[in-house]
Symmetry: C2
Amino acid sequence: MKISILSIGNEILKGTIVNSNTAIIGKEFLKLGITPSFQATVNDDKNDIIGILNYITSISDVIIITGGLGPTTDDLTVKTIADFFNLKLYKDNSVVENIRKRLQHRAIDKAKDVIVSKQNLKQAYVPEGCEVLQNANGTAPGIFIKVDNKRIFLLPGPPFEMKPMLIEKVIPEINSCIKEKIYFEILTTVGIGESDLQAKIDKISGENKDIEFAYRAIPGTCELTIYGKNKNTVQNEADKIRKILGLSVLNKMFNNLIEEVAYYLNKRRLSLSTAESCTGGMIASKITDLPGVSNFFKGGAVVYSNELKTNLLGVKPETLDKFGAVSQECAEEMINGLCKNLKSETGIAITGIAGPDGGTDDKPVGLVYIAVKVTDKLIVKKIIFSGNRNIIRIRTVYSALDILRRMLIEN
Amino acid sequence: MKISILSIGNEILKGTIVNSNTAIIGKEFLKLGITPSFQATVNDDKNDIIGILNYITSISDVIIITGGLGPTTDDLTVKTIADFFNLKLYKDNSVVENIRKRLQHRAIDKAKDVIVSKQNLKQAYVPEGCEVLQNANGTAPGIFIKVDNKRIFLLPGPPFEMKPMLIEKVIPEINSCIKEKIYFEILTTVGIGESDLQAKIDKISGENKDIEFAYRAIPGTCELTIYGKNKNTVQNEADKIRKILGLSVLNKMFNNLIEEVAYYLNKRRLSLSTAESCTGGMIASKITDLPGVSNFFKGGAVVYSNELKTNLLGVKPETLDKFGAVSQECAEEMINGLCKNLKSETGIAITGIAGPDGGTDDKPVGLVYIAVKVTDKLIVKKIIFSGNRNIIRIRTVYSALDILRRMLIEN
């Protein structure tokens, strides 16, 4: 089965938005073990759309078209596509009703009936014989057409409108046509780079021709998808990899590092606080991305200046003078002062040089001391990270959270 | 002049990476006032590449091909494209030398001469008659071919390798072919949503048919590009818009909000610190994204728990009892305690409900108090933000920094 994606919209070609829909669609199909073989982007222009439709219909069984369904006069997609397949448009009353509901929901004065404008009404015209996919998050309906032995899906452009239709309609429809079912399992790894992970997986599973792998690097973590035609084979291989990689794989129960850290802190009823110099609040910010952390997270100090390292954490001026702010000694005083002053049972303290300036031969840009305390256990790690300021800071955040996670699991 | 982009690589179609190159290319062309009319993505497969080349050559004067130039056996792009245009490949010695240098640079033992592998040597084969674009950041050379009255650029896939070649070679080459030069000016706005901005611009400049606009929303800010064929017209319109929008437009000198805030704090030799509850360190983290802020930024407190609001900032327990943590009174005590305890001349304090839980009828999710102090001037703003937890937090960060910026400029 050949799948193509057609993205319609001037914004993508102008570079004002990044085409994230293609990645979203690709990832969902990967779970079925299929990869789209073609993707194209054209402006919302009749001739451009017809041109690429001629090509795309010649190479595809399934065509997923995103964008071009808005209410403005520029949006010619539905009419052009219906004409291309010789389908007439009709006004669908269920769509009119959905549009009215959506507009009413958005209205400032909810008691007053909204009027559906002529522009919006245009969105209710759909090709005859199609299946309408109602839009829970916008006014443009999705459209599913079976024509000339092909399946064609028209989906709205905004990802939060597109994705629900993709998952609820497109993926099940395609899944039902796949003769050979593909099984998959996803492992999220942490503390191991993508190329190192690939090398390890090659060594563990390189001989197994019944499974395939896909890698997706996300800052600080890597998502490994294992897929194959036999459920048990995939399952067994996943278990084997999980066992060998050990703590480098997040527990299945959790979507990310913070969720796993939160689980253990809550389970053990331990409080957490943070003291950050070069990361300047990024760790605290990352932890509080997750709702509900007030159960264990007290907060902390951003001690960018030496003055605050002393004032808030009690780091001795002599220590700063003798060893400098970026030192094992300072990191230790920071974590001990933090846990003591804030009455916290666990803590993370960071001091380092994120650059681009401030590095020396002895203490280069990228040098970071990560101190983590869990009750009476204390670890201070010295790491030299590579990358620019932003990458050094991000790597520090994930390394620190991973050290805490491992200490919580192991102790 | 019709410009098309061809992206080659399985990772984009698998969804493991987002196609950011298309956006980078689109944005650079927008500065010349041109928009690519077509973009396609194919796997690194000979037949797929030939299929789309047949289509793309029929509609384009300029073709920019990215990706597929790596050293692995999968990368068939150069050979396939050379065959398509009936060009022979030859080994280019300047490329061999560049590859050797790059590998030497990456080697662990820099004293020992590296051996250029057969795989890497493959990258030195380029089509006859082409211009080689040396790669300062990788081993794959860029290639520029003029054939059949078309300009074809082959650029490496990684954005940091692609972008320098785009800016140094592709853009000047295309610019020199443009008969009618386009002028542009970019305004960065803050504190005004994209659709409100569009409505305002329509009102200010809707009648002016000699200029066009492009909008790009970036969290908290919006980038407005004004372009037209006459330099004075563009300049005058930009000045007019700048004047009407006033403080909603960042000063030309700065790339972002933090840079402008940093400029005024440095100029006036004022220190800054932060106290964050629901934003949990995001403001401090945003400020420290910019290098060199230690001149004015002391750091601050992440006071996620009420205990720390009292312990670090001296918020009275009675205030928390009587008015709650999310109140005008608490915000005022937070900012006053912050500036006093940390001996800071300016400060930002945040308390709010980012959700999804914790909202009540009186104090809904999205309610945030932003307190900003500049020497003896204090402002506390109550705002109810819409959106999910992440969006509420981001909007709070930018609003707070914008309030500080306006106070620094106005006072």
